[in-house]
Symmetry: C2
Subunit: 255 residues, 2 copies
DNA sequence: CGGCGACTTGAAACGTGTCAATTAGCGTGG
DNA sequence: CCACGCTAATTGACACGTTTCAAGTCGCCG
């Protein structure tokens, strides 16, 4: 049985040691909780690891469960659905991201999460996490950066949707993802001479970009095409390169 | 010296007992911290009370201070400013609202806050609040609802800006404010027979509605006018009535 | 090979923005 | 108390960006 024949969501034998988020040390949650940053001794946290296929749900907003899931591998999208079936993506989730920081406090979700690529994720028990937190409250401060980040990204998305053009929104989305991937060592420099290009995996479909930027798939396609023609970026086979990051950034920040 | 001749921001003798947020018992923060919901004895928290004039800054995003401010009276707006001077309002702040929940964890602001009406607010010392939190960590859960609310409203705004028309955005903003005011007993029923109208203070300028909904002042005016013509709402002298809340709600939620 | 989903492209429609001219409203100062 | 002056609201003509719709291509997987 290989990855592509996975049926639905299922549990695997994947351990933390195999998880890139943990290995590259950007899975702060796991590290904090297991190493017990305070003097308190390590508290055992029950974990399961699951794998979801592309386009399958990972969490539904109606579910009430005792889970605190963290992405180990792959991309996912947190989104809300409207009555008419339209979607608005609130954020893309990358390896090391907690799916929803609010789960620290309430077992309620404010959105659903869907796998974009194949996604493997660990599920900590919410009650375990809360128990650890209660034991060493200084962890609150460490974990607070998680939801502060969530909040900041949400606010930035509000500004994008409220006040920026399609070109700016798309450019900024790409740059945001590039930065988040870079901080995870998930980008590579293609050595151009004057200006090195940055390359990254980019599994997003145009309709997903549209759902994140409040645009139409058709229009996203047109904008990406103009970026391409201007030699700002190159997209091919689920991979994206920022060719002229100076010009691209100027476009995104409108100065 | 009366209220209208206030110069700039200044301190007053206003006490908590005079603050409507406290009196009506919707200032959860003050109540929790002072009553010490847990068994721990009440911890003294240093407070000052200030008054800001309309259109004056209450907090600047560049400030770094040790404050944890709570609105007692009046309306304010949390917003981000773009390079070109444009603004995007992230949320309106009403009596009882904490200005920024992130101040619980970091002395950094992600936005600025400006007074819309005259605003009186209490400033708790951040370090005091944190000390109390450390003493009784069960307060984290009580306070968590504050920033979960913040987050949910941010997400709803994202959906509005990304996926809804001007009419829907404006109608939903009005309904959101009506609900938040109602929960504070700050609305009144104008007894219509079949459908009672809901009336509330509404100090927002059209350009402020525009800055919150990602629209243009001119267009906001046109939409409000159509609402008026359809007898859905009535606006006069800083006061708004929802005349036909059924039809208005249908408009806002597009079914 | 067939079929489906994703992407491309273009024409036309639509919603919202832009701009400018005018009016209304309100606080301030004479 | 009135007049001034600023800010907000109103309105209309027009421009622009984005959507809508439809037709067609491409590539992948079964």
């Amino acid at each position: 049985m290989n990855g592509t024949t996975l049926r639905r969501t299922r549990e695997t034998k994947l351990t933390c040691a195999m998880c890139p988020a943990y290995r590259f040390n950007f899975c702060d949650v796991g590290v904090s909780l297991k190493c017990g940053s305070s003097a308190s001794k390590s508290v055992p946290i029950y974990q399961t690891v699951r794998v979801s296929r592309p386009r399958s749900f990972i969490l539904r907003d109606v579910d009430l469960n005792d889970a605190f899931p963290i992405i180990c591998l792959g991309w996912a999208a947190a989104f809300r659905m409207l009555h008419d079936g339209q979607r608005q993506i609130l954020s893309f989730l990358l390896p090391g991201d907690v799916m929803s920081a609010t789960l620290l406090f309430e077992p309620k979700l404010t959105f659903s999460v869907e796998a974009i690529t194949q996604v493997s994720y660990r599920i900590l028990k919410r009650s375990d996490v809360r128990r650890v937190l209660r034991k060493s409250p200084d962890l609150y401060d460490k974990l607070s950066s998680i939801w502060i980040d969530e909040k900041i990204r949400a606010e930035e998305l509000i500004v994008d949707l409220g006040r920026r053009t399609a070109d700016e929104r798309i450019a900024r989305l790409i740059l945001e993802l590039a930065e988040r991937l870079a901080s995870r060592n998930m980008t590579s420099e293609e050595g151009g001479l004057g200006h090195a290009a940055v390359e990254m995996d980019f599994p997003l479909r145009q309709y997903q970009i549209a759902n994140a930027t409040g645009l139409t798939p058709a229009h996203v396609g047109k904008v990406l095409r103009t970026f391409h023609r201007q030699n700002l970026i190159r997209i091919s086979s689920r991979s994206l390169s920022i060719l002229d990051s100076v010009a691209f950034r100027r476009l995104a920040y409108r100065r």
